[in-house]
């Protein structure tokens, strides 16, 4: 079938793996084909359970050992009007027998639960792809609702695709008729029927999903069994029906992964675990002050489940109180965190400035979403970079750390905590909606290999006055790191007052002295500028002649996957390109200027209007070539590859 072409586009265009055999695995007389990668998109109404279906398929795929990457995409409304285009929710999953970097540009298989899902997604589906549609929903009213005047399943408009018409609703109700459920109740399991069918098509293990369903509906065993039955019915339907003549195998990605134990993990979950791990490694209690906001709330939810780790979570009355409480806890000696998204950062700005002035450790987690204002709450964007960098009154430098993949959120959280604790400063952790909800396999780290983040609280006087008196000076700095001592309440003899008013160097007493203010502003800046961050690594494989590339593509944050996939395509097409990716946006790595100067052309793809490019131009006087996209969706590798090729050929 043409749709299941195994172009391993992320490694090199045109490579093909394909082996056909007939075996009992796929059912009597059914053909089994081997593929190296597949992209599936489940699409339906917001209430159809597409995110759950996608999650389950992902879990099965992860436990099977494929590499994978996911892209959930859903409306901000909880239950948008049924059957409408804005109400469509989808989940895209890319899985492979080799390492992959993105959820894929275009699906090989679209599962469309209703006409709206078909209409909203067909534009992304390449000709020749397979489309599984729930024919039960293709009746007059649902079709008219989304502007289909004739039935697309019958009018020939889908002739370029391989369409599988399946009456999912009818089949599900039929399969569940012995359960005595109402039609409406039975119908709800149609997503499990679809999941069963797709699980058969791709030889996914099924035990996990059955176990999951029984646990999820433990209090309603009838519903649990109904769902399991629907799931099995879907599987059996694939195995027996003539329409599905072929099933596919995607072998585990054994060589893509280093030795180790793996699990599937989303960005927000990895970030939550990173925070818990950081607190443990610092031997400090974790305190989260937060106000619910999409797409950051899942971190609040997750940390709230782990009170047995000594984690305190405080759902505040507003964003300002969220960070305020965190700052108060930091003063008291906790590893303090606040989690939010762009609009929340705007509200927290004044408190972030206070944290800069107080020089206390504090993590500000910004899960970026489309802006400005409320913007696109459930979509992704990288447009808070300059807000994180400059969005405060006065000179208020704040370090910025950005994770590059969902699993990397774990390490980035530890790194952000290291900086906050070592330098006694607020730190921005800039994730985004794509990383937050997307997932990938994660090699579970050995706990004893995690970095040591322990800190030393001040315990006694640190300064001798001219008359020999030993005193404690809250703003007497460590000469190396420029960090001030962290003296927590309860420590005898170190009673001191801190505040947002400018303070005298050393003593920390209020000071309006012009020279002192100048010194303090420059010192706070120097402290952040002096934060140790590793040099930027450049991937620039020399060709046989030993020559490197002349063009560099430089990204930050969640664009890592698409950029790397695009770079593979460019190199696969025989062209040379260097790639580097920034984890630290403030301060930049020490060698960044030198790296930029090495290349004739620097391309900077970003999901904003060129914010990193602006910083690079200002700082390094480099004529960076900004490539931007603000659609609320991640870059597509193929399009990005074209942009890079253009830059190379210019």
């Amino acid at each position: 079938m043409t749709s299941q072409v195994s172009s391993t586009a992320e490694q090199a265009d045109g490579a093909l793996v394909g082996e056909q055999r007939t075996s009992g695995d796929g059912g009597p007389g059914k053909e089994v084909r081997r593929l190296d990668r597949v992209i599936i998109r489940f699409a339906g109404d917001s209430g159809d359970g597409m995110q759950l279906t996608g999650d389950r398929f992902t879990s099965e795929t992860a436990s099977f050992g494929n590499d994978l990457s996911t892209l959930p995409n859903f409306p901000a409304e909880i239950r948008a009007p049924a059957g409408t285009l804005p109400g469509v929710s989808s989940f895209q999953l890319h899985f492979a027998d080799h390492d992959i970097l993105t959820p894929g540009d275009a699906p090989n298989v679209l599962v469309a639960m209703n006409p709206a899902a078909l209409k909203a997604n067909i534009g992304d589906v390449p000709r020749g792809a397979e489309i599984i549609v729930n024919t039960d929903e293709f009746t007059k009213r649902p079709m008219a609702k989304v502007g289909y005047e004739t039935n697309p399943l019958e009018d020939g408009s889908l002739s370029a695709y391989h369409v599988h018409p399946v009456p999912l609703t009818t089949l599900t109700i039929e399969a569940l008729k012995e359960f005595g459920l109402s039609r409406k109740e039975a119908e709800r399991s149609k997503n499990m029927f679809a999941l069963g069918l797709l699980s058969w098509m791709y030889h996914r293990p099924t035990e996990g999903t059955e176990k999951f369903l029984r646990a999820k509906f433990a209090k309603k065993p009838d519903i649990a069994e109904a769902n399991v039955t629907a799931f099995r019915a879907g599987w059996n339907f694939g195995e027996t029906t003539e329409d599905f003549a072929t099933s596919y195998e995607v072998a585990p990605a054994t060589t893509a992964f280093p030795t180790g134990t793996y699990r599937n993990i989303s960005g927000n979950l990895a970030l939550s675990y990173g925070l818990i791990a950081a607190a443990r490694q610092a031997d400090l209690p974790l305190y989260l002050g937060s106000y619910p906001i999409t797409p950051a709330s899942d971190i609040l939810h997750e940390l709230s489940r782990h009170k047995n780790f000594g984690v305190r979570t405080f759902q505040a009355e507003d964003e300002i109180a969220g960070i305020g409480a965190a700052l108060g806890a930091a003063f008291g000696g906790s590893l303090a965190v606040t989690t939010t998204s762009g609009p929340g950062v705007a509200l927290k700005s004044e408190t972030i400035g206070l944290a800069v002035s107080l020089e206390l450790p504090l993590l500000i987690v910004d899960i970026q979403r489309g802006g400005p204002s409320t913007g696109l709450p459930t979509k992704t964007e990288q447009a808070d970079l300059l807000q994180a960098m400059y969005g405060r009154n006065g000179e208020a430098p704040v370090p910025i750390v950005a994770p590059k993949t969902p699993a990397d959120c774990f390490d980035a959280a530890l790194d952000a905590a290291r900086i906050a604790l070592t330098y006694r400063t607020p730190v921005f952790l800039l994730s985004d909606g794509y990383l937050a909800n997307g997932s990938e396999p994660w090699r579970i780290p050995e706990v004893d290999q995690l970095p040591d983040l322990r800190v030393q609280f001040a315990t006694g006087p640190n300064h001798q006055l001219a008359d020999g008196t030993e005193v404690f000076w809250p703003y007497k700095r460590d000469p190396e790191s420029l960090a001030r001592p962290w003296a927590v309440p309860g420590t005898p003899g170190l009673e001191h007052r801190i505040g947002g008013i400018e303070k005298q160097d050393g003593t920390g007493n209020i000071s309006y002295d012009p020279a002192n203010h100048d010194f303090m502003v420059r010192t706070r800046q120097a402290k952040v500028d002096g934060i140790e961050v590793p040099d930027l690594e450049v991937d620039d494989p020399a060709d046989e002649s030993g020559a490197g590339a002349r063009t560099l593509v430089l990204g930050w944050g969640s664009t890592y996957g698409p950029i790397t996939a695009a770079v593979r395509r460019v190199r696969g097409a025989g062209q040379r390109i260097a790639q580097a990716h920034l984890r630290h946006l403030n301060p930049f790595p020490g060698n960044l200027g030198e790296v930029l100067a090495r290349y004739d052309e620097v391309v900077v793809p970003e999901m904003n209007l060129g914010q990193l490019a602006t910083l690079l131009r200002a700082r390094y006087l480099v004529d960076a070539r900004s490539h931007t996209q603000v659609s609320g969706m991640p870059f597509k590798a193929e399009q990005l590859a074209e942009v890079l090729k253009e830059a190379i050929n210019d």
């Binding site: 992860a62 436990s63 099977f64 050992g65 996990g208 054994t254 280093p258 030795t259 180790g260 134990t261 793996y262 699990r263 818990i276 791990a277 443990r280 209690p285 002050g289 782990h306 009170k307 047995n308 780790f309 000594g310 305190r312 405080f314 505040a316 009355e317 507003d318 300002i320 109180a321 305020g324 409480a325 700052l327 108060g328 806890a329 930091a330 003063f331 008291g332 000696g333 906790s334 303090a336 004044e350 408190t351 206070l354 107080l358 579970i444 706990v447 309440p489 309860g490 420590t491 005898p492 003899g493 009673e495 001191h496 007052r497 801190i498 505040g499 947002g500 008013i501 007493n509 209020i510």
Partner: protein, 364 residues
Amino acid sequence: MTDTVSEKPSQIEALSLVPKATAKQSMKDFKSDQEVRWCPGCGDYAVLAAVQGFMPELGLAKENVVFVSGIGCSSRFPYYMNTYGMHSIHGRAPAIATGLASSRRDLSVWVVTGDGDALSIGGNHLIHALRRNVNLKILLFNNRIYGLTKGQYSPTSEVGKITKSTPMGSLDAPFNPVSLALGAEASFVARTVDSDRKHLTSVLRAAAAHPGTALVEIYQNCNIFNDGAFEALKDKEQAQEAVIRLEHGQPIRFGALAPDGFGSKGVVRDPATGDLKVIDVREQGAGAVLVHDAHNPSPTTAFALSRLADPDTLHHTPIGVLRDVDRPVYDTLMSEQLDSAVEQKGKGDLATLLAGNDTWTVVG
């Protein structure tokens, strides 16, 4: 007397987890080395002296005492206390103190705030701290004016206040901080006056002993921008008629002394409306006068008492502890959840958490 008086069910020691001082303390121990920079004659001096003088009575290790403030004249207070302190940003002190108090139950955390700081820019944090009942003592310095920004009307200024920003008179109705706190589910609400050191100290004492959030409104004179705002309550002659001194278990009587040794005015419930009103006991007898019950679980009567005050003349202003009831304390509950999570699930093990339930192994 018609009313019975409630007892607090249990006199929980609010500061039982705070370490005690090892040596005897004096007022001097609580004075910092910083020069006090309020305007000469400011009411804040009196409050500072009262607090510094009262602290040794608590006998707490002073390193376990923290003062957190917002922005405004009164918010400079922490700089003058030789304890831990934070002068934060406008209106946010209750939020910051909530984080500190809920993460450190071994601390005695005090918030110092003003009428603009607590009721205008920080109104949201104040009401939520009160409803949560975090173990905080909030001292609200109410001078009914913005001092630090040089004299604009505040959310407690009387209607028609002529200031720089309201040359034709202010338009907005004021908050009554005590009414507001009672409406926000406060478990402890009191009012006192800067110049009455004895009364101020007694209120501080009751606040300190209260587990949970205590709101103490302190009428404080700004002699520069709103001088004499509380003269009706301070001038001996006027005060007799203007001030209603509340004492738990005592009949609510005030005014010139009647032959029975109590004030000649009394507060009674109006049988027709259920509301409170002031009567002359010499004419109507003292039989119906209410006995003040600060521990009454219902805030209704306390609220009605708070409404007796005339916002313009301050006549019939109740001072003292209006409400003092036991209610679960937020930081205690938070701690208990941590303990019960450990009981239920065992102490968290990071390796187990990271591994989750669904793993696979890649062998090289």
